[in-house]
Symmetry: C2
Subunit: 329 residues, 2 copies
């Protein structure tokens, strides 16, 4: 199985190099917003704590747009402070992922958005209560009419709007993008050396494309075992196949300086340690301290412009709005 | 004691009418920001979850600027989901209050800001760890140098910056302010009738000044007992005097439509019910349903322009930043 995975990795390198003759990493372009009303509604819902049972947890609680689209915790805090099972992936550039969640169990952002709302360990609500909540407020209803042509509110439309907002959360203009665009001064000599290591020693086998990741699934612990106490099984939980155990979606490395702690178990806080672990367990290599520092310097050039978010003002609850139940079982 | 308190209330009416010949409620003016760098730093710290032990709770968690500066819960959720003792007051227009917290135990916003950070039931951190956290990040250190002239970081400066931001959180241009400024069309006939009831039946005795409250302490249950399961003792906790039991700071009624649930125990969700309870236990009066509806119509004219907040981008943690401890005891 290890051999197969390695071959898969190698064929990915080759395939990728054919597809992108110049560089395995593509420039991220700023988003053109075509439906600003839907994006604004989606932003309101993204910041809406009343989509949770407690009235306290919103999408932004764990995918905090002040901190790289993550909560910067090993695993997240859910309803009644339950400990989440896995590290929260960043929402930034998430639309570039081939699927959502670490195990890819949601095909896109819209499908993903419905998950945490109804997960008893996350927002602890139900889709029906989320719909009732949103539909109870004239300030929401009139937006649905304007955007969708009528006031039908269901979880499909709620998650459609959230996904429309999330699609705008890209981070262009990183120093590395400027370098790719031809500005040789945009990144340091160390970062350039790090990028060469990244390309020539195998990292790009998995971390490629516009998001520097998110284009494939890969086994964590490809060459040597990755030791973790986290019980997540990866793709096996989706496919049922033993061969998919510990196979996860390759995470994006965009904004990686902001999205610590690292790995699906959130066990590593230092970028240098993450690079050393990955080169070891995925590539069977031992980078020198200088090489590690150079790769880290490269990775830090992947921090782009963070989304400029004006905090939404949410409409007040009405007598019809379900009451939050923060302390009820 | 009831008689004394009633006299106090009546003398407040009279005193107030002398002071403000025209109206007992004053127009709120937009804030002029004189130190934008400090306000920006304060905003960052206001949204900074790393000022809590868990790395999950910021000032904005319970004083959410998307929802009227409150969490819209009866009592707040603190570290490890502990239930707070009292309803979170709004941060909006809080600088107009004569003191901070329901019992006035902090003399101003700066003193208030240090409270929740170190309260084991709220953010659960320590001032020393908060200082270490902020000082660990170059992105913060350089701002302190620019604002304060050197890189000394202590809780005094941290709370000074937070207070500077909070002082900007005023809500001008409410329909009622426009009415006070002379625009007779700014509020409805019902709202005008409600304002007359509010003035003539005694509400303004306590709810006066620019914030329509916050100018004095008053016993909750002045004429008839206010029944609650909440154990808060009010000013007695500060002064030690039995006479101060159940005496609380009069809350602002600015943006009251947004700052449900009402009262220090957060027991009432409907504005009409709150008006009926207050007229009954504080004034010994029974409003007709029409009168109540008119007072509610007036109260809804007190919703002003909500602060326009651009979400701050927070600097990444460093190796020196204390790690969050969300699940450790």
């Amino acid at each position: 199985m290890k051999y197969q995975a390695l071959m898969l990795a190698l064929s990915a390198i080759i395939g990728n190099q054919v597809a992108n003759a110049a560089e395995p990493i593509e420039i991220i372009q700023p988003v053109k917003i075509t439906d600003p009303d839907k994006v604004e509604l989606g932003k309101m819902l993204y910041f809406e704590p009343r989509l949770s049972k407690s009235g306290f947890i919103s999408c932004n609680s764990c995918h905090n747009l002040s901190t790289g689209g993550v909560d910067a915790l090993s695993t997240s805090i859910g309803d009644r402070w339950q400990q989440g099972p896995i590290n929260a992936p960043t929402v930034l550039n998430a639309d570039f992922m081939l699927a959502q969640f670490w195990d890819g169990r949601a095909k896109d952002l819209q499908e993903q958005a419905g998950g945490p709302i109804a997960n008893p360990k996350e927002m602890g609500f139900t889709h029906q209560l989320a719909v009732t909540t949103v539909a109870s407020m004239p300030g929401y209803r009139e937006r649905f009419v304007k955007i969708y042509g009528n006031d039908k509110i269901d979880i499909t439309r709620i998650t459609d709007a959230i996904a429309a907002f999330e699609k705008t959360l890209v981070t262009p203009n990183s120093p590395f993008d400027k370098y790719l665009a031809g500005d040789q001064q945009a990144i340091s000599t160390d970062a350039k050396a790090g990028y060469n290591i990244f390309k020539n020693r195998g990292c790009v086998a998995c971390h490629n494309g516009p998001a520097v990741g998110g284009t494939m699934y890969m086994k964590m612990g490809l060459i040597k075992p990755f030791h973790t106490n986290n019980p997540a099984e990866g793709r096996k939980a989706v496919t049922g196949k033993e061969a998919d155990k510990m196979v996860f979606k390759v995470p994006t490395l965009r904004n990686i300086e902001l999205t610590y702690p690292y790995f699906h178990d959130g066990s590593v806080w230092s970028l240098a340690e993450a690079v050393n672990t990955m080169s070891n367990v995925q590539l069977g290599q031992q980078f020198t301290p200088e090489e590690t520092a150079q790769v880290v310097a490269f990775l830090k050039t992947l921090t782009g412009d963070q989304p400029h978010i004006t905090l939404p003002i949410l409409p007040p609850s009405t007598a019809e709005t379900p009451k939050p139940q923060p302390f009820e079982q």
